[in-house]
């Protein structure tokens, strides 16, 4: 458990820093473009494309953090009425399902980057498209890891609650 938490914390710290940095670049780029375009009728010619890619990066990193906080959109009309232990088991099940789906998406996106994109093609500033697209498999992989960690936590907590309940009796 302790190793798991250490991994989780390190990962979250890295993603946090990356997210803030990339967001800052995206905002600066987007704002600069508008000023250049509307005031001086010019612009950075790769600016719009770059900003579009950065949105996807920001999105995946945000989605990673959403996983940790349980902030992905989900239906809680039913689980809201469960007792805490039952809810933990339901959470573990949901996380298992999400991990499997994310695993499949990670594999599919790895295939996509390898086979569908031209490794020679560059998007802006000589950055290859494959490098920019890497956020898709990496993102889904990170999200999957997060779901697995959450699932293990839920199971451990649910079992602990069971033990405590028995001890109380």
């Amino acid at each position: 458990m302790r190793i798991l938490h250490a991994v989780d914390r390190t990962l979250t710290a890295i993603v946090n820093a990356a997210l803030v940095l990339i967001f800052a670049v995206m905002l600066t780029l987007a704002a600069t473009q508008v000023f250049l375009r509307d005031l001086f009728h010019t612009g950075i010619y790769w600016g719009d494309v770059a900003a579009r890619y950065l949105v996807i990066w920001v999105g995946f990193l945000g989605a990673f953090l959403a996983t940790r906080g349980g902030k992905h959109f989900h239906i809680d009309v039913l689980t809201r009425f469960l007792n805490p232990r039952a809810r933990l088991w339901f959470n573990a099940f949901s996380d298992l399902f999400a991990s499997v789906v994310c695993l499949l998406l990670t594999l599919a996106s790895a295939t996509f980057v390898r086979e569908a994109l031209d490794p020679e093609s560059t998007v802006f500033l000589g950055i290859p498209e494959t490098a920019l697209a890497m956020i898709v498999p990496v993102g889904f992989g990170l999200i999957m890891a997060q779901f697995v960690i959450k699932m293990i936590e839920s199971i451990v907590n649910a079992m602990r609650e069971t033990v405590e309940k028995k001890a109380a009796q």
Binding site: A30, Q33, V34, F60, G62, A66, F112
Partner: protein, 431 residues
Amino acid sequence: MTTLLIILILVIIALAGAPLFAIIAAIGLLVFTAAGTEPASLIAELYRLVNFPALIAIPLFTFAGYLLAESRAPKRLINLAQALVGWMPGGFAVVALFSTAIFTAFSGASGVTIIALGGLIFPALLKQNYPENFSLGLMTTSGSLGLLFPPSLPIILYSIVARDAAGNSVNIDKLFVAGLIPGILLLLILSAYSIRTGIVAKVPRNPFSFKAAWAGLKEAAWEAPLPVIVIGGIYGGIFTATEAAAVTAFYVLVVEVFIRRDLKFFSDLPRIIRESMILVGAILVMLGAAMGVTSYLIEAEIPNQLFGFVSQYVSSKFLFLVILNVFILVMNMIEIFSAIIIVVPIIVPVALQYGVDPIHLGIIFLLNLEIGYMTPPLGLNLFLSSLRFDRPLTQVYRTVLPFFLLLVSVLLLITYFPELSLALTGAVGVR
């Protein structure tokens, strides 16, 4: 048979609380595999997101909204509104309506309004002798009011999703402008109801003071121009919605961090970026997962089949829209952003065949969202309101009823008269 079984299983998993993006992705993986397409094609569909120029409006406006919510701007906004219209009968209730509407438009309508402004407005309403049930209903309604005004997140999301399904006739700029008249109509009708309540309940009125109004204006001088920048900028064709997003985010950042100094650069800003991007991430993965399903639906001509089926029973355009209203209302009670991402690609092509303008449909859809937020028993705002103001859910259900009826009547008006939504879109120089 197998299909039905799979759908049933997925519905059960969704109800068990699994993230909806995973459910949608699972559907995508299943239909692609069934059609003999590689799963990598599903990712190719997701990857189309990099070609959506309007997408950047989502993170930028969300960030600006979170910044405003965290600053003291809401307090200044309420003070200004109070100084300007507080003298009218029902004045403070009208203040509540307008300030929550503006706040919701900027904060993305994810329920923050009730949490952030409720604590300021609800006790003040009670203190001024507004009936408790009226105040509670008003607060619950106000949580989603303003959703029709730019730059609300649901409008942006609708336009992105609908454009992908229906083509270029849908664009954010047009939708931003189209929401104005219906949104104002809604505010006026609710204001009339509030003024009536103010008179009936004999709420004491404050005299108008130029000094207070001037002080309020001065205090809110930096934030007050924001709606003008966004709406005026787009309306006047000065910039597109996407450009407005960049300008707004940058402007709000400079004002709240460097000029007003409500927020600190190093301690607050990273946290706000993170929190706002969590919402953006949750929306984007769901949108990405849905891209594949959407193109499958279009490829398989599902909307056409649906139209063929529905048109056997429903021939009039208006009746179709009424049935659609009921359907969307039920969908929206469950989860709003998912409803847009899942339902819009299916119904937009069907509505087009009925001759419904996709912009008009968008306004109907968004107003439905607004009502869905407060529709008993499952609307999100009912729960938030019950929690925030510590009142039983059943009381909240009862108190929203008059507001619900008013909103539904406006919905019918807007459904029946497309001109209300479309009049401005043709007239202005939207770029």
